[in-house]
Point group: C2
Chain length 165, copies 2
């Protein structure tokens, strides 16, 4: 059988958010993978996610539109790479739907692969998100953009939303 890839982050290049949350894994997964739920928590307030498209299969589109507090919209398009229900979700913006290579970004643009790994932990869930960058400059840029605060705040919103589901 196919062996899964082990996501062993490189601390020079990658960033990790790891936290145990008191929400069952099936709710964490559903809040993540259904567009009508995702838009409720995906972007740290006062930013909003105003649209989402999720074709939940390898090669399927993952599209979101984020709106700034000033009302400007920022579309993001990526592609799912791995989808293992309730366990693992991997996507990248280096590819578009159907694995088409994305147009060439600026040399200093942030290009990302992200892995979300879920494990049961008592009645809750161990949540691990790994941001995989091209290089050390990518990691630094993402850190300066506020990776830890931003992804942490989104997870707070995610947990609060999932508890109300």
């Amino acid at each position: 059988m196919t062996r899964p890839i082990t996501f062993r982050p490189d601390p020079q290049i990658d960033l990790v958010l790891e936290r145990t949350v008191d929400v069952p894994r099936d709710l964490v997964w559903r809040a993540w993978t259904e567009p009508e739920h995702l838009v409720k928590w995906f972007t740290p307030a006062p930013w909003k996610t105003v649209d989402a498209e999720i074709d939940l299969r390898p090669g399927g589109i993952f599209r979101t539109v984020m709106r700034s507090p000033e009302g400007q919209d920022y579309p993001n398009v990526g592609c799912f790479l791995e989808v293992v229900p309730q366990e693992r979700l991997v996507w990248t913006d280096a590819l578009l739907a159907g694995y088409r290579p994305a147009s060439p970004p600026d040399a200093d643009a942030l290009v990302l692969t992200a892995a979300v790994l879920l494990e049961p932990h008592g009645s809750g869930t161990k949540y691990t998100a790994i941001a995989i960058h091209r290089d050390e400059a990518g990691r630094k840029k993402h850190e300066e953009m506020g990776f830890h605060e931003g992804w942490g705040k989104a997870l707070d919103q995610h947990v609060a939303f999932a508890k109300r589901m």
Copy 2:
């Protein structure tokens, strides 16, 4: 269950090699996916493939080194995206092993996702290779580099090699 992505090439952006070959599908697959076989046919002569590394799973490395007739080596590193034994092999050089985004290429560099699809056809195999580009410029560049002649000649070598296996 997860629905597979249908590779419906866009004739403006993608290139397709489709041929029926008189080699059973299991031999076509083995000649493709085992490094010691791949090096025998992968590069149209007089170029050679002098090294290959194949970690045959989604996220696994696909690395080759091609040698020009003048003796210069050209390494290529990519990542497998889909591996369905004897049916489907998809990889890209937009990502490195473990799905890490590749370093930013030149704006006009050829960045590729490729899908090889195999179907049984009598005692032989229907072989379809699709080169998926970023844009129309990528398709044109690849065509000018000799996609049809090069991939066709490699398939001739592949078939001749597999028949001797």
